[in-house]
């Protein structure tokens, strides 16, 4: 047995309290196998990895046993552990951009890892660095070695990180969320590389992930963790085919899968019209290169693309936050939601109804207004009152020093003349609409979970009952089970309120569940758009096809078939 973890209990002491991060975790890993530790945030999977590396903070108390090739690691001498780290155990971390030191070159950092464990001349180190970078599939090893982290893409950096991890021929490779921060096409390349390396250099891989698609793609065996305990341990095929534990089933069910698309709503009046939009960030960087989009009332348009494709820039333009080089972004003055809204129809206060009836000023060109944000401040503010925005990270988009109720009430205070009592009633309605108990209004953001915070952010975005909602990756920062609930909520809110929505996401499966139509962005241009059914199930553009092929499916057998059929992606 290469790695054996037995009865591992890790607890942290904080302010006199002892909290257990893992309890009795046990698993074994053999040479040449990939074991996936799966769980949501707080499940103890990363803490377990850090315990194997001997890198837990001083406040942690560890009991149990961790043996590598028969050698006990718990309680081993610090010098011995240091020899093992980077020597027998290689590690790949989540965010490659943050995991490399920004002030040293890639070659320098990989070379340092080699020199720590091997006595080699500097020429030999340089040669080895070049070989390694070539091994992980980087085209121009010399250039990569000379580059600083900020000069490389996420995919290139993660390949370099893997090169560093395998630089001293480790017997164990720990990969902690190795693809979470990457685009799907880059992710597919990294997963292929890891699979290939496992066979070639005869190493075992401990894969830590929350992504069932990644598990299905790479793992041989799976250990499912929930709140620091192992709830299930099975070979990958059996786990997916017949999950034994309730939690495993929940996890698998929560994974958004392709299948059912939403039927398009009855054609409504146009509510947003973007025409030939061009956004330059500087004379050399063109973020958006001539994009035209239409969204009808009550329609959800999914805008998908990888990082740097320009999709978020479009969201920022609509919020009036980014100056536009040319083109128009017209927000029409239609107000599809009046008395049909459940929130207002159940409203016990008569004075509330006008809130929903008012329409944003008709036909405002936000792109034009945003060119002179100071001069047009008033008009911009009016236009913004017709647009709700939900951002990716609710932890940072909510003011930590305001109660939830205050945050939700803020748009009402700014844009509506309501009495304090009316505001309170409206906030109560909104909390109810996002399925939070009214008592939550008195809490502060840090007293809530990620999913609850995102519900609050949605409530705030809907406070003015806007005809158009912009959601920029609203579920990307959430665990899958939470994401599933937020998506369900979003869908029912959209059905009830009938707002139109520009839904920006990199996750095609999420977009499929929500969007009536999909537009695919690549390098600042829309390469394909049409109904969700058509774009995601019968893609015409090669880029869309490649994007779809790169997504790992949460089914080991199907994923293996897809992998075999996939055209090698260029990286």
């Amino acid at each position: 047995m290469l790695l054996s973890v037995q009865d591992l209990t890790i607890s942290f002491e904080a302010g006199g309290d002892l909290s257990e991060a893992t309890r009795g975790v046990a698993f074994e890993l053999r040479r040449g196998r990939v074991l996936a530790l799966v769980g949501e945030s707080g499940s103890g999977k990363s803490v377990t990895a850090m315990a194997i590396l001997g890198l837990l903070p001083g406040t942690a108390a560890v009991r149990g046993s961790i043996t590598l090739e028969g050698e006990q690691l718990l309680g081993a001498a610090p010098d011995r552990l240091r020899e093992l780290r980077g020597g027998r155990i290689g590690t790949v971390f989540q965010e490659p951009m943050a995991a490399f030191n920004p002030v040293f070159t890639i070659g320098d950092q990989i070379g340092e890892a080699i020199r720590t464990h091997r006595r080699l001349t500097s020429a030999a180190v340089r040669e080895r660095v070049g070989d390694l970078l070539g091994t992980v599939g980087l085209d121009d090893p010399e250039r990569i070695a000379r580059s600083y982290p900020h000069q490389l893409s996420g995919g290139q950096l993660q390949r370099s990180m893997i090169a560093m991890a395998i630089s001293c021929d480790p017997v164990l490779l720990i990969a902690d969320e190795p693809t979470t921060a990457l685009d799907v096409t880059a992710q597919a390349g990294i997963l292929d590389l890891l699979r290939e390396l496992r066979g070639r250099i005869d190493t075992a891989i401990l894969l830590i992930t929350h992504d069932m698609g990644v598990v299905a793609d790479l793992a041989d065996d799976v250990v499912v963790l929930e709140n620091g305990r192992v709830v299930e341990c099975a070979p990958v095929a059996r786990l997916f085919a017949e999950p034994a534990h309730e939690y495993t089933k929940t996890l698998l069910d929560a994974v958004p899968t392709f299948g059912a698309t939403r039927p398009a709503p009855a054609a409504g009046a146009g509510i947003l019209s973007i025409r030939d939009l061009v956004v330059d960030y500087s004379s050399r960087v063109r973020a958006v290169g001539g994009v035209s989009l239409e969204i009808a009332a009550g329609e959800v348009l999914g805008l998908v693309g990888e990082s740097g494709s320009g999709k978020s820039t479009i969201g920022r333009v609509l919020a009036g936050l980014t100056p536009v080089t040319s083109g128009a972004a017209l927000v029409a003055g239609t107000s599809p939601v009046t008395s049909t809204s459940p929130v207002t129809s159940t409203s016990p206060v008569a004075g509330i109804s006008p809130v929903t009836g008012t329409s944003p000023a008709a036909g405002i060109d936000i792109a034009r207004l945003a060119r002179h944000p100071w001069r047009n401040a008033r008009a911009l503010r009016r236009a913004r009152s017709g647009i709700g925005i939900v951002f990716q990270d609710p932890a940072s988009s909510l003011n930590p020093r305001r109660t939830v109720a205050d945050s939700i009430a803020e748009p009402l205070v700014l844009h509506r003349d309501l009495t304090v009592a009316q505001q309170r009633v409206r906030v109560g309605e909104l909390l109810d609409a996002v399925q939070l108990p009214a008592a939550m209004g008195r809490r502060y953001p840090h007293e809530m979970s990620g999913g609850q915070r995102q519900r609050v952010a949605i409530a705030r975005a809907l406070a003015l009952n806007p005809p158009l909602l912009i959601a920029d990756e609203p579920t990307s920062a959430l665990d899958v089970s939470v994401q599933a609930r937020i998506l369900a909520l979003f869908r029912s809110l959209q059905d009830d309120f009938g707002f139109a929505c520009l839904f920006i996401s990199h996750d095609l499966a999420v977009v499929e569940q929500l969007a009536h139509r999909v537009a695919v962005m690549h390098r600042g241009l829309i390469v394909e758009q049409g109904s969700t059914e058509q774009v995601l199930h019968n893609p015409q553009h090669p880029y869309t096809q490649r994007l779809l092929a790169a997504i790992p499916v949460a089914d080991p057998q199907r994923q293996a078939d897809r992998r075999a059929a996939r055209v090698p992606a260029d990286h």
């Binding site: 590396l53 240091r82 020899e83 780290r85 020597g87 943050a98 030191n101 002030v103 464990h117």
Partner: protein, 330 residues
């Protein structure tokens, strides 16, 4: 952007900034109600003699014309008066002190070595002390080392330098008789005496300034130690000494150097209080004397020279910054 173009633009910008500062300084001081001619007119000051003195010094012209004369003098030098009483101010002429009967340039060059000696030595000391204390406090966070370092730095931040300086003189100069109580000996005259006279002012200045650097370094270090790349460095099997000394310190120094450059720049322009306490005749003392005697050309000259030093220090900081942080180099 090429490096050359970047440098050119920066130099132009620096020249522009200096020009603006010089106009402001000139305007402020020359629009003061004091008439410099009156001061050197002598007694009895008849209107005729006043006009004569005014014309001699060039104060009969409007202030902007005087300013242009001043600018031209930097390039070509200036002459005041004619005949036997004529004085010469060679280029670069930053004005002429009629009170001390010396060109301002000469006064500054004469005094600068004193201030530079104080500033450079103190700066090196405080950087070493401050950064070491900050790193030690951050690494031993929450321990007695951390708490005592931070307690000392609170004392250092709040203690007035003249008080600490005087106490230092009292203890080490008079009571223990280890170091001279004041004065300055040029390096060229006797390097040992130069060092001996400077030890106390260096230590006092360094200990007080190091306090701020210790706090800054500690905060930065604690933040950097939480970064992902530190975890990566540890996962590579590096020794803690190397993780701190190489991976963390380099990132910690980036903001520290920025503050350091500006502090050093302004100190080079005159360590006013320190020079006073240790009775050293540096730029700070020159400036104080000039203010006391309303010697306007000297005030303008020293002010401009200080501004130049700050701007140059700023430029040097930018160069060091881009050497330390590859992300900002172009």
């Amino acid at each position: 952007m090429t490096t050359l173009r970047f440098l050119g633009l920066r130099l132009l910008g620096m020249a522009g900034t200096l020009l603006v500062i010089s106009v402001l300084t000139y305007a402020v001081f020359y629009l003061l109600p004091t008439d410099p001619a009156m001061l050197s007119c002598g007694k009895p000051c008849t209107p005729a003699r006043l006009a004569e003195a005014s014309a001699f010094m060039g104060y009969d012209k409007p202030w902007w014309a005087q300013y242009l004369d001043f600018l031209a003098g930097i390039v070509t030098g200036r002459h005041f008066g004619s005949g036997l009483a004529a004085v010469d101010c060679a280029a670069p002429c930053f004005g002429f002190s009629f009170r001390l009967n010396t060109p301002v340039t000469e006064l500054i060059l004469d005094r600068a070595p004193v201030t530079f000696s104080i500033a450079a030595g103190a700066a090196v000391l405080w950087l070493i002390i401050g950064v070491s204390a900050g790193v030690a406090a951050a690494v031993k966070r929450g321990t007695a080392v951390d708490r005592s370092a931070m307690l000392l730095s609170t004392v250092g931040v709040s203690a007035p330098s003249y008080l600490v300086g005087l106490l230092g003189i009292l203890l080490f100069g008079f009571t223990l008789d280890m170091v001279p109580v004041g004065g300055y000996v040029p390096f060229t005259e006797s390097p040992v005496d130069w060092l001996w006279h400077l030890v106390l002012p260096w230590t006092v200045l360094a200990l007080l300034s190091a306090a701020i650097y210790a706090r800054l370094t500690r905060g930065q270090m604690i933040e950097v130690l939480g970064e992902d790349y530190i975890r990566t460095a540890r996962a590579k099997g590096l020794r803690e000494r190397r993780v701190i000394g190489r991976h963390a310190l380099r990132n910690v120094l980036i903001p520290v150097i920025t503050v350091f450059g500006l502090d050093l720049g302004s100190l080079l322009g005159g360590a006013v209080i320190t020079e006073r306490v240790f009775s050293m005749q540096g730029l700070g003392a020159l400036l104080i004397d000039a203010v006391n005697t309303v010697d306007l050309p000297v005030i303008v000259g020293v002010t401009l020279f200080s501004a130049l030093l700050v701007i140059v220090a700023n430029f040097a900081v930018d160069l060091v910054y881009s050497a330390l942080d590859p992300r900002v180099s172009r």
